[in-house]
Structures are given as structure tokens and as C-alpha cells.
């Protein structure tokens, strides 16, 4: 089909009274036909019917992660409590300095190193 003829068909298909069924058929015959690849249906079927296996695997993974998290979380909380107790016994308070391991005494040496005075 000549390009000019195809252009007229495209424009003509939008006329209110156009025989759209016949025009779309001609446009398709001219080469503007659309379809998916040959393996389209197989891909869709695989995604639909294999999906339950994937979902089950995902659920199992989430369950395992939750189990691991519970174990790690409990151990972590126990470690934090032990750390706080040992800190309190060593420093006698929960001040920021005791967390950072800095003594409460004013160290002139640091000021001298930083400012030179």
C-alpha cells in the first residue's frame, strides 16, 4: 500500500461515520498488525501457574528471617543490659561521658593541643 493511501486510511478511520472495522482490517493488512512474541502464552502461564511455588518460598524465607531476628534480638538485648550494668558499676552513672569512655576531669593538655594556648 502506498504511504499516501495509508495516511488517508489513518485519518479516515477517525471520521464519525467511518466503517472502522473495514479500515482497521486494511491497515492491518498493510503491515500495521500487532501481536506478542510466540512464547507469550507460555510466559504468562509460567508466571500464573508457577507463582504459588514462589509465594511459598517467599513465606518460608520470611519465617526463617523472623526466627533469626528473634534469636539475634534476644541476644542483643541481653548484651545491652550487661553492658549497662558493667558501665554503671565501673563509672557509677549513665552520663554521656561514661558512655563515651571520657573521664569527668578537665584535661588542660587537650585544650593546649587544640588551641596552642
Amino acid at each position: 500500500m502506498e504511504p499516501a493511501e495509508l495516511k488517508n486510511l489513518i485519518i479516515g478511520s477517525l471520521d464519525e461515520k467511518a466503517d472502522t472495522g473495514a479500515i482497521s482490517k486494511k491497515i492491518e493488512e498493510a503491515g500495521a498488525s500487532f501481536d506478542f512474541s510466540d512464547s507469550f502464552s507460555e510466559k504468562v502461564a509460567a508466571r500464573i501457574f508457577n507463582a504459588p511455588d514462589a509465594v511459598i518460598r517467599e513465606i518460608e524465607f520470611v519465617k526463617s528471617m523472623r526466627f533469626v531476628f528473634n534469636r539475634v534480638a534476644l541476644t542483643g538485648v541481653a548484651a545491652i543490659i550487661l553492658l549497662l550494668i558493667s558501665l554503671f558499676l565501673a563509672e557509677g552513672s549513665f552520663s554521656l561521658n561514661s558512655f563515651l569512655g571520657i573521664g569527668n576531669t578537665y584535661d588542660e593538655g587537650i585544650v593546649y593541643l587544640l588551641t596552642g594556648n
Partner: protein, 185 residues
């Protein structure tokens, strides 16, 4: 066996698919894949992205088969799913490109038409693709419904859930735009 599926009514295939019959759903796909391809590829261009959206259409159809009450034709129901997913994809692309591009209105147009048998047919497809992609999505969809699917104005209005007047005005404006666009192609 397969012949019996080919002769079955849509309603029978739907019931069988809901019951887990893979072949019945396969027959539904065979019946409507070209219709979906015309809508999706007409709107998104003939690209691999359109193929993905086409797959999503049938997956969504499968998951919603039990909701299908048979009040409308199955083709209309599938067409609506295809249009919704395609328009969502266009919006998603616009958002994506607006993040990385100054224009913000870019769409990805990739044509894979090298496998068409003759040069004439390749040219025809390229012309149709370019013409469609030059239109705004709201005009493109009515043109695709008319030009590629062959729907009447009434059917187009029903599927797009738009008043007839809106469809007619969009068709008229799209026609004016296409006249200008096609002059340069």
C-alpha cells in the same frame, strides 16, 4: 480435546479456568492476545515493555476471573484491564522521565519492527507507530480503539467509560493533529 476448547463459549472457558483448567485459560489467551497487543502496543509502541504489560493484563485477568459477572462481554472486560494497565505504565514512565529529563513529557518509544517480512509492511507499521506516538495519550487511546481495534464511537465510549461527546471531540482533535503530523512523515 483442544478442538473442544476452540469451540467453547467464553463463559465455559472462564468457569473451567476458575476450576484450574490451564488449557481453558490458554484458549482465552489465544482468543484475545492480538486484541490486547493492538491496545498495548498501539499505546506504548512495539517494544518489549509492551510485551511485559501484555503479560500483566492476562495475569490480572486470571486473578480477577472469579469477579467477572458476565454483565459485559469478556473482550470488553479484558480491554478495560489492558487500557488501565497501559495508562498506568504511561504515567509511571512520565514520572520516571520527569526525574531525569528537563522535558518531563518524554516517553520511551522503541520499535522492534525489523522482523516484518517486507519493506512496505515495515514502513506501514513504522508510520502507524510514529503517528500514534506523536499524540497525547488521551487522544492516542481513542485513535487506537478506532484505527487498530475497529470499534465504533459508541463502543469506544463504552470501553473508555467516557461520554460520547468527549470521544467525538477527542477524535476530531486527534484527526486535526494527525493531518499535521502525517504531512511530515
Amino acid at each position: 480435546m483442544i478442538e473442544s476448547y476452540r469451540q467453547a463459549e467464553d463463559s465455559e472457558l472462564i468457569s473451567a479456568s476458575i476450576a484450574g483448567d490451564k488449557l481453558a485459560f490458554g484458549e482465552i489467551m489465544e482468543r484475545y492476545r492480538r486484541m490486547v497487543a493492538r491496545t498495548v502496543k498501539g499505546m506504548l509502541g512495539d517494544s518489549v515493555y509492551a510485551e511485559d504489560i501484555g503479560q500483566e493484563v492476562f495475569i490480572k485477568l486470571y486473578n480477577s476471573l472469579s469477579d467477572f459477572r458476565g454483565e459485559a462481554k469478556l473482550s470488553t472486560y479484558i480491554q478495560k484491564i489492558a487500557i488501565n494497565l497501559t495508562l498506568n505504565e504511561i504515567k509511571r514512565r512520565k514520572r520516571f522521565f520527569s526525574m531525569f529529563s528537563q522535558k518531563g513529557n518524554s516517553e520511551m518509544h522503541e520499535f522492534e519492527i525489523a522482523d516484518i517480512e517486507t519493506e512496505d509492511k515495515r514502513d506501514a507499521k513504522e508510520l502507524v507507530n510514529k503517528a500514534l506516538m506523536s499524540l497525547e495519550p488521551k487522544f492516542r487511546i481513542v485513535v487506537a480503539m478506532r484505527m487498530l481495534q475497529g470499534y465504533s464511537t459508541k463502543e469506544t465510549a463504552e470501553i473508555l467509560e467516557l461520554p460520547m461527546g468527549t470521544v467525538l471531540s477527542r477524535l476530531s482533535r486527534a484527526q486535526e493533529q494527525l493531518k499535521e503530523i502525517l504531512k511530515n512523515l
